[in-house]
């Protein structure tokens, strides 16, 4: 899995690609928590390239969501493939995250999104 960070205007975009599992979720976790703690007002995870995500990856996203409440960060996901969306739905987490179809929509809406997902 690859994790890279881009800054687009006032938004930190974390580009993820490959499989997110017990091994690779540690990279995503480190990057996600670092961005949140550095005071970025908006953080998005680009999941367009994520081909697989397991419970470890989901736990990382939930941890990010929880931290976003403490750091007052607006946090969202975009570009979920059908399998990743299905896993979130199965865990009934699709309603607690701010989820956008694509980067354009995410960048347009993240600043006006209710903070901290749907919690």
């Amino acid at each position: 899995m690859k994790v890279q960070v881009r800054n687009v205007d006032n938004v930190s975009v974390i580009d993820c690609s490959g499989d997110v599992d017990l091994y690779s979720s540690t990279d995503l976790r480190g990057t996600l928590l670092k961005e949140m703690r550095s005071g970025k007002p908006n953080v998005l995870v680009n999941m367009t390239g994520v081909s697989y995500i397991d419970s470890s990856g989901i736990a990382t996203l939930v941890e990010g969501l929880q931290l976003s409440r403490e750091t007052k960060t607006r946090f969202g996901l975009f570009g979920l493939r059908s399998n990743a969306r299905s896993v979130l739905e199965l865990a009934r987490l699709h309603t607690v995250f701010a989820i956008f179809d694509n980067e354009k929509e995410a960048l347009e809406k993240i600043a006006t999104t209710e903070p901290f997902g749907g919690l």
Partner: protein
Amino acid sequence: MKLVINTDPRLLHIVRSVIRYYAQEAGFPEADVDCLAMAINEAASNVIRHAYDNRPDARFSLEVKSFPDRIEFVLEDDGRKVKPEAIRPRSLDDVRPGGLGTYFIRCFMDESSYDSTFTGGNRLRMVKYFSRRVSSSDEGSSQERG
């Protein structure tokens, strides 16, 4: 087929690939193939995390058996006995990290149970049945579905 593999999380993708191959060969539809791979991935992750405390140099085995009506997976390790409460699925209303691995296993498998008589570490048996196919050969079958 029996696969013996190190408890190194970098190797989980191999486990997923092996399961995908066997599930496809057994004739499961693609959606079930992905679910089975994820369920076994979660079970193996539990072994690494809970039986071996993320130690990467231990080993566990995964046995796959195909039957006319089902596929069975047996995961065995020599690690610490896992306490059921340590891997119990959390309530889905309780939004917090963790607690989803066993939930996914139960969602994707028709049966899953730990063998309490296993004298080693842990033995987890998981079963997935084919969707019932009604044919003349099925008549009189005494096979049960859990």
